[in-house]
Symmetry: C2
Subunit: 322 residues, 2 copies
DNA sequence: CTCCAGGGTGTAACCGGTTTCAGAACGTGC
DNA sequence: GCACGTTCTGAAACCGGTTACACCCTGGAG
């Protein structure tokens, strides 16, 4: 390549990196040679020499929830904008989860890591620190790592208050088990915020109206079927996620209950499906959280202090199920 | 690292790659040193030396359609299974699309490329060939590149036949413009298969019942609003994708039409949302197509002849909208 | 005319692995 | 005791970029 243009490799490198010392005439000759040979620089060599890869990694339970996909869009968007490539480490099962972190060899090919919706074990965090890999947590936290999170308890309270305003007093809850395989915590937080708001309104906790199970639409449908079957069923249900809320809606339909007449339903997240089925929900800025986390990570990689995290506030989006 | 274990770098390399000639005692010493130092091999150096990166790239309109996400899951699944990392090149806008392919520099960091739902320009294909990069097309085609596609025309015919069986004779169509920014072709193929089936049943083409526009739920909603507004509206509508079918459903609801009473609706793809809203649709194996394309690509990378492409057949999934 | 400044380019070391090939260490057969 | 074969290990070249540094060349000042 360099020979073909009649210059040295150093000059080629300078041309490729737009270092202005090169004479225009030489620059053109190099560009011509690049075109003729269809030459592509090796990013592997570049990474090795520079010590950085110009790529960021994302560890996420890509398969589990659609909210993650939405966050991911925010990430992809921003990463592309800043010229970073994106490496996706999908964590499908809890076993894979262990693998993804244990096998840190794979993580050395990224300049930074974004962890989405997945809690970190202490030893994993320690390993990341030791490798000096910049990390940002999105929708999850592990002090003292930088994070982009929402106020899940506050969101739970919003849901409760919305239902209280509508006159409901007997409100059920469908969510994840506090101890689930992935270690998701949001559901439990939302439940606590929800309960706290009810108590503030003078309504005592009613564990009999709570149904916890594995995450998923079908699981939620089964849980809700039990919750809504009896005569003493609640007049409204708060589901810890839109996915689960849709399961609740299906259960209601299965039982011939009208929504919101017989039972009102509110979800959490505002994924795209929520708009489709007319689900009232607590909106959280999914895409923005990904974008925001990416900004933070890129700043960290550059060694700058991260920009302040500024997310749109949570808000109830009223549709047709309440 | 090598010094710390009292051996040479060659030996460390042999231990890392499980080359059995190393004496067990030495192997243990190296492993011990690795543990003590928290040493991680540099994948950049490895890639450079080996000439491969152990990663595959995916170019896809990640932002546009949810069917792409589903295919992507199939890809991520298989890639992880085979120890390959995944690089995601999201193509959000037609402009980015040009960039993604033009800037092939970025593609040199993968051992192979999966192109999902995105037609290739001739010059792009030529560039890929010149770089000797193995490529597999999924849900799109560019002879003579290997591809994983479904029979869109056949699928369109299935949809038509289903509606004919239900007694419909006046059937509308909502789909993409044949000349759209991304170059998607499926919609047009499905329309042609659909029309052909109608003609076979003795029903002449009715361009007045066809509405074409940009892809998207809201766009489809607007198109369907026009289609369903008049007195001479069709008794059924075939939408070229589930996303658009949902838009049609919304338009029907907007107009106070019952489904399937006043108007039946059938979509195409069987994305997750279809099950949620009870949409009758032509199921295509989305996830499987991703997995299948990945298998093909990995075989190509290894230099083997690809396994035969064997996808589940298309089939109408009847739900509540027909 | 000589000297110096400074812009433009080439040489070579370096990044951290893999791999070839030579050679050390040890055991065996005669 | 020596030649030889095996088994294991190390030295060094190589992958393809980046970059510090040396050097050449030109123009302007003295």
């Amino acid at each position: 390549m360099a020979r073909h243009a009649g210059v040295s490799v150093a000059t080629v490198s300078r041309v490729l990196n737009d270092i202005p010392v090169v004479r225009p005439q030489v620059r053109d000759r190099v560009h011509a040679a690049i075109g003729e040979l269809g030459y592509r620089p090796s990013s592997a060599a570049r990474s090795l020499s520079l010590g950085r890869s110009q790529a960021i990694g994302v560890v996420a339970p890509f398969f589990t929830t659609s909210s993650v996909v939405e966050r991911l869009r925010g990430v992809a968007d921003r990463a592309a904008e800043h010229g970073y490539d994106l490496m996706l480490f999908a964590v499908e099962t809890p076993e894979q989860r262990a693998g993804a972190f244990r096998d840190f060899a794979r993580l050395d090919r990224v300049d930074g890591l974004l962890v989405i919706s997945l809690p970190l074990m202490d030893d994993e965090a320690a390993a990341l620190r030791r490798d000096h890999l910049p990390v940002v947590m999105v929708d999850t936290a592990h002090a003292p790592l930088p994070q982009v999170v929402i106020d899940d308890m506050g969101g739970g309270a919003l849901a409760a208050e919305h239902l209280l305003e509508k006159g409901h007093r007997r409100i059920g809850f469908v969510g994840d088990l506090p101890a689930n395989a992935f270690g998701f915590r949001s559901s439990e937080e939302r439940r606590r915020g929800f309960c706290a708001a009810l108590e503030r309104a003078g309504i005592p906790p009613a564990p009999s109206l709570e149904r916890l199970g594995r995450h998923g639409r079908e699981e939620a449908r089964a849980l809700a079927a039990g919750l809504l079957a009896g005569d003493d069923r609640p007049t409204a249900v708060f589901a810890a996620s839109d996915t689960q809320a849709v399961g609740v809606l299906q259960a209601a339909a299965d039982l011939g209950l009208t929504v919101p007449g017989d039972v009102a339903v509110i979800g959490f997240d505002d994924i795209e499906t929520a708009a489709l089925v007319g689900l009232t929900t607590v909106r959280q800025p999914l895409r923005q959280s990904g974008a925001c986390g990416t900004d933070l990570l890129l700043a960290l990689i550059k060694g700058e202090a991260g920009p302040a995290v500024e997310l749109d506030p949570l808000a109830v989006v009223q549709r047709r199920t309440t």
